[in-house]
């Protein structure tokens, strides 16, 4: 090969030196704006973002509110929450007390719009008061399970190595036990009460969150922006909570809404088997007591069942809506 072919490289190199000597004034001349005229040209993106000057929190809310399913879910959940809050005002008496003739069908007596059960207890009062225990158990158990699961999962996924090994073994111990059997055992050992049921549900539900969080963290910690964050000298906590966790959130949020639903179902199942708190009425215990009469008085199981179905459905719809709204990569396409 000859060296003449690369003369042009050389001229470039020489040109660079020349440029450095008398600092071509061309770019600095346009001090009032960007040095490249093409950068000023409005493009579709900049116009779009100029039109949408609302903050991103509000944009997420907008996306969420424009989703009819999510709206329905939120509305129904709000309704349930309000009902739970005003239940003691509407029915100040104990919903477990006998107030009327047994086996009144819904609509038969205007004093008991949803009828009475085999002992003459008001079904409507039971459903209203039952929403309190269902929501309390569902939300608290999820909050506890989520906190613990995310902490364990993120620690295991982020650090890897022996920390990961130890924590994964811990998760596997819980996974090898059939979760509902474990739940029954836990509640049977402790005195059944709203608190112990909540704790027991949290104990059996955290491994799912931990596994999910760990998998997300393992995938995300290799991403370029996490390496970039390390290259900026960020500490472990900052990388875990500011860089990785927000990116791992969408599946965790969806899971958590389903977890609330599952916790409500589990509480119902425990009450159905008579392992719930005997001193409070819950949707599950109402179904449990109505179970033997399902052929003659099916409304005793169907009505609290519908309450469970709609509450769980509302929570699932909210989870989907949140996922779409909170993830900017998805919301952009809408």
């Amino acid at each position: 090969m000859s060296t003449t072919d690369i003369g042009n490289f050389n001229s470039l190199a020489a040109g660079r030196q020349a440029a450095a000597e008398h600092e071509v004034p061309a770019p600095s001349a346009a001090t009032d704006g960007p040095a490249w005229s093409n950068m000023k040209a409005p493009d579709a993106r900049s116009q779009q973002s100029a039109a949408v000057v609302i903050t991103n929190g509000r944009r997420a809310l907008k996306v969420f509110l424009s989703n009819p399913n999510a709206l329905f879910g939120t509305a129904f959940l709000c309704f349930v929450i309000i009902v739970a809050l005003i239940a003691p005002i509407l029915y100040p008496d104990d919903p477990l007390s006998m107030v009327g003739r047994p086996f009144l069908w819904p609509g038969q007596n205007s004093a008991f719009p949803l009828g009475t059960d085999s002992l003459g207890r008001d079904v409507l009062a039971g459903i209203l008061h039952g929403s309190r225990i269902s929501l309390f158990v569902g939300l608290m158990a999820t909050a506890l399970g989520l906190t613990f699961g995310v902490l364990v999962g993120s620690t295991a996924g982020y650090f890897g190595g022996w920390i990961d090994d130890v924590l994964v073994r811990l998760i596997e111990i819980f996974q090898t036990l059939p979760s509902f059997v474990l739940l029954v055992v836990l509640v049977a050992i402790a005195q059944p009460s709203a608190t112990t049921v909540t704790l027991a549900i949290a104990i059996i539900s955290w491994p799912t969150v931990a596994r999910l969080t760990r998998a997300e963290f393992r995938a995300i910690r290799e991403k370029d922006y996490v390496v970039a964050a390390r290259s900026l000298g960020y500490g472990h906590a900052r990388i875990i909570f500011r860089e990785i966790l927000p990116n791992a959130l969408p599946p965790i949020i969806v899971t958590s809404s389903v977890m609330v639903a599952t916790a409500i179902l589990m509480e119902s199942a425990l009450s159905f088997m008579g392992l719930g708190d005997p001193n409070v009425v819950s949707w599950g215990s109402m179904i449990g007591t109505g179970r033997e009469l399902v052929r003659t008085a099916w409304y005793l199981t169907a009505l609290p069942g519908l309450a469970i179905v709609f509450t769980v459905l509302a929570l699932n719809l909210i989870g989907d809506g949140l996922n779409d709204a909170l993830n900017p990569r998805f919301s952009q396409d809408r």
Partner: protein, 332 residues
Amino acid sequence: MAALLQVDNLTIRFPRAEPVRNLSFEINQGETLAIVGESGSGKSLTALALMQLLPRAAQIPNGRIAFGEQDLTKLNARGMRQLRGRDIAMIFQEPMTSLNPVMTIGRQIAEVLKVHEKLSSKAARERAIELLKLVRIPAPEKRVDDYPHQLSGGMRQRVMIAIAVACKPKLLIADEPTTALDVTIQAQVLDLLDTLRRELQMAVVLITHDLGVVAQWADKVVVMYAGRKVEQALPDDLFNDPLHPYTRGLLAASPRLKHDFHYRDGALTEIPGSIVSAVGETGCPFRPRCNQARASCGHHVPQLIVPAADRLVACPFTTSSKAVPHAAALSH
């Protein structure tokens, strides 16, 4: 003036390979050092070693990375964290994936200022807008609240640069900063880097395989092959008079930048074989692909010799058109 960064005999070892061997170079304040080489030559690992961000399996069995008074290979994790982002910053190859997708660019710039300069949120946001202006993002007051997916690749790389220079680092490592960008954007980004280098008096380690970039923006060039430095020169000398057969091959394999060049004017030559042939080679790693290889090349790894002032080459048989007598060169 003492060098800002001095790398001596750096070796990076993995359990089954040594991708970087006995690499030495130094860089002064305000200088641009280009590291050139094909894929697999150890350029990016060198960059990661400078940041002490090597993969877990990698070790640095010997060598020194002196940054000012400190040896980075001996610095503990905490000390290194304080240097990263404040004194040494890095720009990555892929602007599309190097920004956190769920955080606004303004918050990502502000974050580094909060960590290293302990600025308040409000002050950090103002500085972020200034920095976006510095890297020539139009309408920075609006863009500061954008998410990365709302920006083009070139703009994202500008944001990456803004984050990297936010704390006015002394050393900026740019690992193929323009490889993922359109050709038209490449020159803009490199011009920006060069302007910032002058304004902030940074030293820049520019890792690239684009010889056009080297010719235009580097002050000093290190050519790497299979983890070793095979040639070091000023860009003028390198392009005028490449000494190592590998450098010559690289230059012959690059498209000419002449405006009237057409592929019919002459085919690009290639370097036969691939870098994989260097694995297990006892002598010169380039021997299997070298058109001037001799029997003695297989005996031992060629030492770096000094053929002229400010030059180093790892080939004993190279002949320069402006060769200085060997003895004189060695006494340099």
